[in-house]
């Protein structure tokens, strides 16, 4: 059947299972928008193209399905760059569709022309420029396949206006992907399994490092079985949170720069690190020269380019984590590591006193209380927390206990401020039955707060908790520690967030005291529309513990004694 490129676009998306796209129209993508009337796909109009990419990203992370963002050429496309890089660093499968000027105008600096395939080359898994309608079906099939397979990532498809307008014969079946160079399905050698098993069985002080790859691969059950069967404790990366139940006795908590002190000590004392779907980011290793020197290292990872990138490993099993673990598990023997587990318990010592609930209410509001209360209140329900980047993100990681995969969505690798609000929209669209909470700083919120309009327009029930300390808090913390408290450019003059929300028709409330936290959270949950809570928290609070950039992992700046002194002393 003969169809225009624009019609082919939507039909291909439908055939790929796409139900929602996040987009913003403009000249070069108008033919595609015109053809949308024939499609069942629900288009969500965003307020900025960066928002569209974060929404597609949040959609992908909440559901595991490919998220789709659409924009026009030129500025529309360049506005997507931050969102694409965010998805790239966190291996999130999104497909970005951009309009491009007519193929005959390419290279002429035409109005709204930009070389978006060139610009996004290093931040996409792959990208395409399509100049003929008859190539569109195959390219889109490839794009979705590449985005979701192997180590997932963003793919951009730039379609010229004439390719959208011209017609050709459309045959989905015939337009099969032709990717002779693409190998997403690697698997380890038998000898590598044997070497890994030998190390696992010999280890006295083994530790599982659980990363995002567990969630991407859907290997939660296999990791649980492995930990329980071999008696190995589990430390998680930020993006790994939820991959292993927080309440499980073998779960130690988060590792790294703001990880639990005992976790970092345990890593440094371990004699075997079993790295599952994680990439030894500098935020989790600290100084590489002093990182886990006594430990043998096994790396199970789908991307061969990650092997020996930062940390040299003894055995690498390259493949899909779930498949590799399925192969490995029947051969793993049960080992008793009581002594090791006891020694980690001793490491915890009094630093395990993280129960902020025990601290007396001194009239001040601390972010830790807000987040911990939010967790206690929503415990057991189908909650997705979407955080931004900074102090609140780390407090969330510390004080909100994630039991399930895909219950935390956060920008880890790129650390993109402004991520939370749009990503939460994507998450809510993907999982309408879930209770979605945005936890965001007052700085990051203002980067993408225009998407409040998208929430209202789509009638989405999203709860927003602004952790408002009047500072770019994490930057202020670095200035406090490393720049002699020179708070240059970090204090924020904020608008009245309550009035702002009301202007959008969003119910809103400011919270200044600890006693108001639970009632406000309950009120937000009971309301059937979006709610914004402005938590005015202590201004100069600090995330502890902290490994300074470049310091050894066990060289932590600890919370001044007594623990949570700011709360207890005042």
């Amino acid at each position: 059947m003969t169809k225009t490129g624009a019609q082919i676009l939507w039909e291909c998306l439908e055939r790929e299972g796409v139900k929602h796209v996040f987009g913003y129209p403009g000249g070069a993508i108008l033919p595609a928008y015109d053809a949308l009337k024939h499609s069942d796909i629900h288009h969500i109009l965003v307020r900025h193209e960066q928002g569209a990419t974060h929404m597609a990203d949040g959609y992908a992370r909440a559901s595991g399905e490919v998220g789709v963002a659409v924009a026009t050429s030129g500025p529309g496309a360049t506005n997507m760059v931050t969102g694409i890089a965010t998805a790239m660093l966190d291996s999130s499968p999104i497909v970005c569709i951009t309009g491009q000027v007519g193929s005959k105008l390419i290279g002429s600096d035409a109005f709204q022309e930009t070389d978006i395939t060139g610009i996004t080359l290093p931040i996409t898994k792959h990208n395409y420029l399509v100049t003929h309608a008859d190539q569109l079906a195959r390219v889109l099939r490839e794009a979705f396949y590449v985005a979701r397979s192997g180590r997932p990532g963003p793919v951009l498809v730039d379609i010229t206006k004439d390719a959208q307008q011209s017609s050709c014969e459309f045959n989905w079946e015939a337009a099969r992907p032709q990717l002779p160079g693409y190998r997403p399905d690697l698997s380890p050698e038998e000898t590598e399994y044997a070497q890994a098993l030998e190390l696992i069985h010999k280890a006295k002080r083994p530790l599982i490092l659980a990363g995002h790859g567990i969630i991407v691969s859907g290997a939660m059950a296999e990791v649980l079985t492995l930990a329980e069967k071999a008696g190995i404790p589990v430390a998680l990366t930020l993006l790994g949170l939820g991959a292993f139940p927080a309440s499980h006795p073998l779960n130690l908590g988060m590792m790294g720069m703001h990880g639990e002190a005992w976790v970092n000590h345990a890593i440094q004392e371990a004699d075997l690190l079993l790295a599952l779907g994680m990439r030894f980011d500098d935020r989790v290793t600290g100084n590489l020269k002093t990182y886990a020197q006594d430990a043998k290292k096994i790396h199970i990872e789908i991307d061969p380019a990650e092997i020996n990138k930062n940390v040299k490993v003894d055995v690498a099993l390259v493949g899909d984590l779930r498949e590799v673990l399925k192969e490995l598990l029947p051969r793993v023997e049960s080992v008793d590591h009581t002594e090791w587990l006891d020694s980690i318990d001793k490491l915890k010592g009094d630093s395990a006193v993280r129960d902020v609930q025990k601290l007396p209410d001194n009239g001040h509001l601390y972010a830790a209380h807000v987040i911990n209360d939010l967790w206690r209140e929503t415990r057991g329900s189908n909650t997705v927390v979407v955080t931004d980047v900074g102090q609140h993100q780390m407090w969330e990681a510390q004080y909100f206990k994630h039991e399930k995969a895909r219950s935390l969505i956060t920008s880890g690798g790129l650390g993109t401020m402004g991520f939370a609000l749009p990503a939460a929209i994507g998450a809510k669209v993907a999982r309408p039955e879930a209770e979605v909470w945005v936890i965001v700083g007052d700085g990051g919120f203002q980067m993408t707060m225009s998407e409040l309009a998208t929430i209202v327009q789509e009638k989405l029930k999203i709860n927003i908790a602004i952790i408002n300390n009047g500072f770019l808090g994490m930057v202020r913390q670095w200035q406090e520690f490393f720049y002699e408290r020179n708070y240059e450019a970090t204090p924020l003059l904020n608008p009245n967030f309550v009035k702002l929300a009301e202007a959008y028709g969003i119910r809103s409330m400011a919270v200044t005291e600890r006693s108001q936290v639970l009632p406000s959270v309950r009120a937000a949950r009971d309301h059937d529309g979006a709610v914004l809570l402005d938590f005015k928290v202590e201004q100069e609070d600090t995330v502890y513990p902290m490994v300074a950039a470049g310091a050894s992992l066990n060289d932590m700046i600890r919370r001044p004694s007594p623990i949570v002194e700011t709360a207890a002393d005042e």
Partner: protein
């Protein structure tokens, strides 16, 4: 040490950019890169030399494979292989120096490809050492201009990638004029 990679890529616009961008982004320093056609019109072949250690060489290989348009990567540094560089050297050769330059060229089995009143242009093919050697002895006469292609390399013997059963990636690509993989 100098590692030699033979890289088969899909013959599409923009693939060279992808490879070059990868090296830049990962801070791998290219010593030389050549690209040209192969016996199959849909496949191009690159020879890339990089001064690096074995660990990083493995990472380069893995990163190259992460490019969707890369079909096959071989590190032939430790394989029996033929590596050739081609140079054209324009030497200032006036009356009395001319016969000396010609003599040196013939010792190195180089050919004279252009003769002008004030200069000779010599073409030489060979390993890098041989070309460096000729260059060294010509320098006193005055090298006016020089160009080198960079190394092209090939394994010795009958082994070719398609004959190796472990390497299943058969470069079979359809030509598609409507798609440019990054311009």
């Amino acid at each position: 040490m100098l590692n030699i990679f033979v890289v088969y890529v899909e013959n599409k616009p923009g693939v060279l950019t992808r490879v070059a961008s990868l090296f830049r982004r990962r801070a791998f320093n290219i010593d030389s890169l050549t690209v040209g056609r192969t016996e199959k019109p849909e496949v191009s072949r690159m020879t890339i030399t990089v001064d690096t250690n074995p660990d990083q060489a493995k990472r380069i290989e893995a990163n190259l494979y992460n490019l969707v348009n890369v079909l096959l990567v071989e590190n032939i540094t430790h394989e029996p292989a033929i590596a050739r560089d081609l140079a054209m050297i324009k030497v200032a050769a006036t009356h009395e120096a001319r016969s000396h330059v010609l003599e040196l060229a013939s010792v190195f089995r180089a050919r004279v490809v252009d003769v002008a009143p004030e200069s000779l242009t010599i073409e030489i093919t060979g390993g890098e050492d041989k070309i460096d050697g000729l260059l060294e002895v010509l320098r006193p006469y005055g090298v006016v201009e020089m160009v080198r292609t960079g190394i092209v390399a090939m394994r010795r013997g009958t082994t070719s990638p398609s004959a190796n059963p472990n390497q299943t990636k058969t470069p079979q690509v359809a030509a598609d004029e409507g798609v440019s993989y990054s311009v």
